[in-house]
Amino acid sequence: MPTTDTVTRVNAAVTLRGVSRVYGRGAAAVRAVDNVSLEFPRGGWTAVMGPSGSGKSTLLHCAAGLEKVDSGQVIVGDNDITSASDAELTALRRTRIGFVFQSFNLIGSLSAERNVALPLRLAGQRPKPAEVRATLARVGLADRARHRPRELSGGQQQRVAIARAMVTRPEVLFADEPTGALDSTAARTVLDLMREMADAGQSIVMVTHDPGAAARADAVVFLRDGRVVDHVTGAGPREVADRLAAWER
């Protein structure tokens, strides 16, 4: 029988224990993340909501090892990455986590398929064209493989970014406002795609300020002034919006 501790570790894709991140010093210090303890479940889709400036992005960056924490512990799977070296974090990004951001962040000079193949090539693998095509097909862009990002719509670019994040089969996908720059139709396509991935067992941590987007997730965490103030599971858009409105008051 596994101990409770092990159960926790196995079931959580990412664990934060008392994590704080402070920007600036003295009077100008901002506690962007303030003593947050959270578990993002494995195989689940968690949305992080909160007003602008509440520390959502900082929390995501800390959880993904992009930002050092000032105190607390960050555990991805069963690896404590709190004080991981640059090489260890690089290895983590290569194989175990993927990112999607509001601003797509594709490399403009590379075609969609080469953007998708990039993480594999950086990891020293020789990507099989079929594998890359299959990943693009999964996001519905099989016929856009040779297009450059600027020849794609925003929604298509974001789907390329998702394909790029997924091509390494990461344990966790981190997404910061993935629909923030998209119109509602494109946003729905992207959210449908993420829902599909979550149903297939993909762990997803998504930051958003859109209640409609958050309602597609399995659970929603509310953040305010860097602290977790609420936590709901299985709520619809109306309930998420009401709770957000309550906390923004």
């Binding site: 640059d86 690089t90 194989t95 990112f99 509001q102 797509f104 000079s109």
Partner: protein
């Protein structure tokens, strides 16, 4: 938002083109200078020439070799400087791309290898283009050397097969050395920087920048301090070398200095305040445009001022030392004829003969082309304020002349055209002067009369107190061409000035052009990354005209700052010139070539303004919404 897609190849090509160009032109310049230096050093006058002509040609070649040495030094310095600043700038402009690679799993080592690999490729391609370009540059420089009579008409720069290796090596080494520090810095970019919209600039005054800056500052200070104690030739050479480290030091500190000077731009109107804010914000870009300008202004103005000042100091010194009323130019031993003219009190007849001087013995033996002058020691001492320095010179012996290069004691081997004088003791010497002159002084009996008969001779004539100058002049005109000593000295000074101008043109001309291309490079590279910034300014409500005007004002401010800082570097040279001339000729002399200063300012402002205008117009050609990707 289009995010990274704005990093498309279309926007990145100016970076690579700029880096490529800096290598190609740098390699061309270094290769040409090296080939010409070797061609001049191994130059043999045609066998058909008389020995006197061959010796004279060799003496010219010696002067040309030392000039080409300076050209090679400056070319190498410029190439290293321009290439490394261009490469560092291109790496810095790509921080977001690099951060993105880090975000999707790239390691520091991979980024470093990527940047080094790129530098190797650009170095290779640049050298491949620079080698044929270098042949064209060599033909041009060779033509200049012949045209300005530094080398005889049959001189030509010669191609050597091994230069292929040297030039490829130069291109690769300079590109890699140039990118080394930048690559290390670039590879340490934090992945999160990929998410910053403006590609936040890294700290610009890095530790390595401080170290480089302080090293160059130390070098410049050392030269400034030592130059006055270096004697004539040492002092002049050191003063001419101050501008390079001084400019490099000022350029290293320019990220601190340029924004400070930028505060001087009037903040009038929205374009003015935007320009000022941009200048302070984009330190890296400002510094990259200012750096080649600093080197251009510092080197060209500093060395032109040094050349002109030393020439003036030399002429002043010569005027102060010359005791004569008239100068007669006529070939051969005309001394007796001049002395027999009524009213002539004294005459120093000086006949120039090309020579080869060999000093040292055994391993250290060294032969050099030189100028020997046959004189009457007592008359020469009187005409040139040499006091009793030459009283020991008589019989089969020589004295060290004002041209230097010969020890004033000991033994040398002296060869004149068609006559080997063998070992000959140096028994006296006059101090070296700023304006130079013959290296060896000979008493008349040593040289056969036949050799003197047609050799170029000048006679310095002093009149008796009761002489009737016009009558004496008229009588002397039957001997040769007569001029007053004043007029002769003026003509001589003018002649030397034009020689120093020509030297400056040969030395600085192409180097200055290269630095100017470096400036254009930086402006173009800087503007390439600004499309988005311009578009944002426009959606904020600025018109295209206002954006372009603000870019122009910013470029104007950077140019002025670069020129002022270049002036500081030139000022270091000028200070050295003052202390050195004070030490050597007893009077501080500074001759600032104002026409050239004005020309440098005008050209720099014109070039940066036109480049900024064109690049900002092109960067704002598309409607801003297209660039900001609001089409979704």
């Amino acid at each position: 938002m289009m995010g990274m897609s704005r990093a498309g190849l279309a926007e990145r090509w100016p970076l690579f083109a700029g880096a490529f160009l800096s290598v190609a032109l740098g390699v061309a310049l270094v290769q040409s200078s090296l080939l010409l230096l070797i061609s001049a050093a191994t130059y043999d006058p045609p066998a058909g020439w008389s020995e006197a002509a061959r010796m004279a040609a060799s003496d010219n070649a010696v002067a040309a070799v030392s000039m080409l040495g300076v050209i090679l030094g400056i070319a190498t310095f410029l190439a290293g400087f321009i290439i490394s600043s261009t490469f560092a700038f291109t790496v810095d402009q790509r921080r977001r791309d690099l951060a993105l690679l880090r975000l999707v799993g790239g390691s520091r080592g991979q980024l470093r290898r990527l940047l080094l690999g790129e530098a190797l490729l650009l170095g290779f391609l640049g050298a491949a283009a620079g080698i044929p370009a270098g042949v064209a540059v060599m033909n041009l420089q060779g033509w200049l050397l012949r045209r300005m009579e530094f080398m005889p008409a049959d001189f030509e720069g010669q191609w050597r097969l091994w230069i292929l290796g040297v030039s490829f090596g130069t291109g690769l080494a300079l590109a890699v050395a140039g990118v080394l520090v930048a690559a290390r810095r670039g590879s340490r970019v934090r992945p999160l920087e990929a998410l910053r919209e403006t590609g936040a600039a890294a700290r610009v005054m890095t530790v390595s920048r401080w170290i480089f800056g302080l090293i160059f500052l130390g070098g410049a200070l050392a030269l400034i301090i030592v130059a006055p104690h270096g004697g004539v030739s040492g002092g002049v050479a050191m003063a001419m070398n101050v501008a390079m480290p001084a400019a490099a030091a000022v350029a290293a500190f320019s990220p601190l200095l340029v924004p400070l000077l930028g505060r001087l731009i009037p903040a009038g109107g929205v374009t003015g305040s935007l320009a000022r804010a941009n200048l302070a914000d984009a330190r890296r870009r400002s510094a990259s445009v200012a750096a080649p300008l600093i080197v251009l202004a510092g080197l060209v103005i500093g060395n032109a001022a040094a050349g002109a000042s030393f020439t003036t100091a030399g002429a002043d010194q010569m005027r102060a030392q010359t005791r004569a009323d008239l100068v007669v130019e006529a070939p051969g031993p005309v001394g007796d004829r001049i002395r027999s003219v009524p009213g002539v009190a004294a005459v120093s007849t000086e006949t120039a003969i090309p020579a080869t001087v060999t000093t040292g013995s055994g391993e250290d033996q060294e032969s050099e082309s030189a100028m020997a002058m046959v004189i009457d020691p007592a008359a020469y001492a009187a005409a040139h304020s040499a006091g009793d320095a030459l009283t020991a010179l008589r019989g089969r012996a020589v004295a060290a002349g004002p041209g230097g290069d010969v020890p004033s004691r000991g033994t040398i081997r002296l060869r004149l055209p068609g006559l080997d004088l063998g070992e000959i003791p140096v028994v006296a010497g006059v101090p070296a002067t700023m304006s130079g002159g013959p290296n060896v002084l000979l008493a008349p009996g040593v040289v056969p009369a036949a050799m003197l008969a047609s050799a170029p001779t000048q006679s310095f004539v002093s009149l008796a107190g009761d002489a009737d100058p016009p009558a004496v002049r008229a009588a002397l005109a039957r001997v040769g061409e007569v001029s007053t000593a004043d007029a002769w000295l003026r003509a001589d000074a003018k002649d030397r000035n034009s020689t120093s101008d020509k030297i400056l043109l040969v030395i600085m001309g192409l180097g200055g052009l290269y630095a100017l291309i470096g400036v254009i490079n930086s402006v173009v590279i800087g503007a390439a990354a600004r499309r988005r910034e311009f578009a944002e300014a426009r959606v904020t409500g600025l018109t295209r005209g206002q954006v372009v005007r603000s870019a122009l004002r910013e470029s104007f401010a950077v140019t002025v700052a670069g020129l002022v800082l270049g002036g500081v570097a030139a000022g270091a040279t000028m200070a050295t010139v003052l202390t050195t001339t004070t030490a050597v000729v007893g009077k501080g002399t500074l001759d600032i070539p104002w026409t050239l200063v004005a020309a440098v300012i005008a050209v720099a402002l014109l070039v940066t303004s036109v480049t900024s205008l064109l690049t900002s117009l092109s960067a704002t050609r598309r409607r801003p919404v297209l660039l900001l990707g609001a089409t979704e």
